[in-house]
Symmetry: C2
Subunit: 111 residues, 2 copies
DNA sequence: ATTAACTATCGTAATAATACGATAAAAAGA
DNA sequence: TCTTTTTATCGTATTATTACGATAGTTAAT
């Protein structure tokens, strides 16, 4: 046990969950917000900004990169990260596709 | 270690992360989608629908209830759950507040 | 009063996530 | 070449999540 039973769910449900998980930590939210403000950032910036250890920041950056929300390119001795605009737009559509499904209830239909 | 350092982040960052975490499991996505379709549901419906044990479903329902995304009312012997429309709308605004912050980059500004 | 139906909680095993020190690796500059 | 700067990865301790059986509690029906 303790293992998510992925095969019980649809592809969309798993995809939404994986993307939500990538946002499910305040450090990763902070990284994304920093990127949205500055357009690019390097690991070292974030170490100063967030107050977490360099190894921890690198780990969070990798998770965001794994789901495709950010991308990185080598810039001399450092690494430049930025938002992947296509993926960013697609995650927004995916979430809103769910959010928009709300319907108002008839009498006695809701709780 | 292993403990998220909540105090390093803003209230908004922590709030976004907590809400994202509540969506970070396919079973909870499935529960919400089922609620969006049917307007209400009971634990037993979901046990049949999802194929997880009753105790597991109940645990997921509790997490969604804890963040306020759903609410429940007693209906005879069973429990009727439904989406909390106010919270649903507020989470959508919160996420879109972040999603919408993307800006297009000038030349050489991105990676 | 007993039974049936349904849900919540407890206890617990298995797995995942978080954080960081230590170390490796790669590029730039002295 | 050697040092400096920067990032990634490994190893690991701690905490959190997931899943489920067992059990208790509640309401409705018999």
């Amino acid at each position: 046990m303790g293992l998510t039973k992925t095969d019980l769910f649809t592809k969309e449900q798993n995809e939404l969950a994986v993307l939500a998980k990538s946002l499910a930590h305040p450090a990763r939210i902070a990284i994304l917000q920093y990127l949205l403000e500055s357009n690019k950032c390097i690991n070292g910036d974030l170490v100063n900004e967030l107050g977490l250890a360099q190894a921890t920041i690198s780990q969070h950056l990798r998770e965001l990169k794994n789901v495709g929300l950010i991308q990185g390119s080598i810039e001399g001795v450092s690494m430049s990260y930025c938002i992947n605009p296509e993926k960013w737009s697609s995650i927004q559509k995916l979430f809103n596709g769910m959010f928009d499904k709300i319907q108002n209830c008839g009498p006695g239909e809701c709780c």
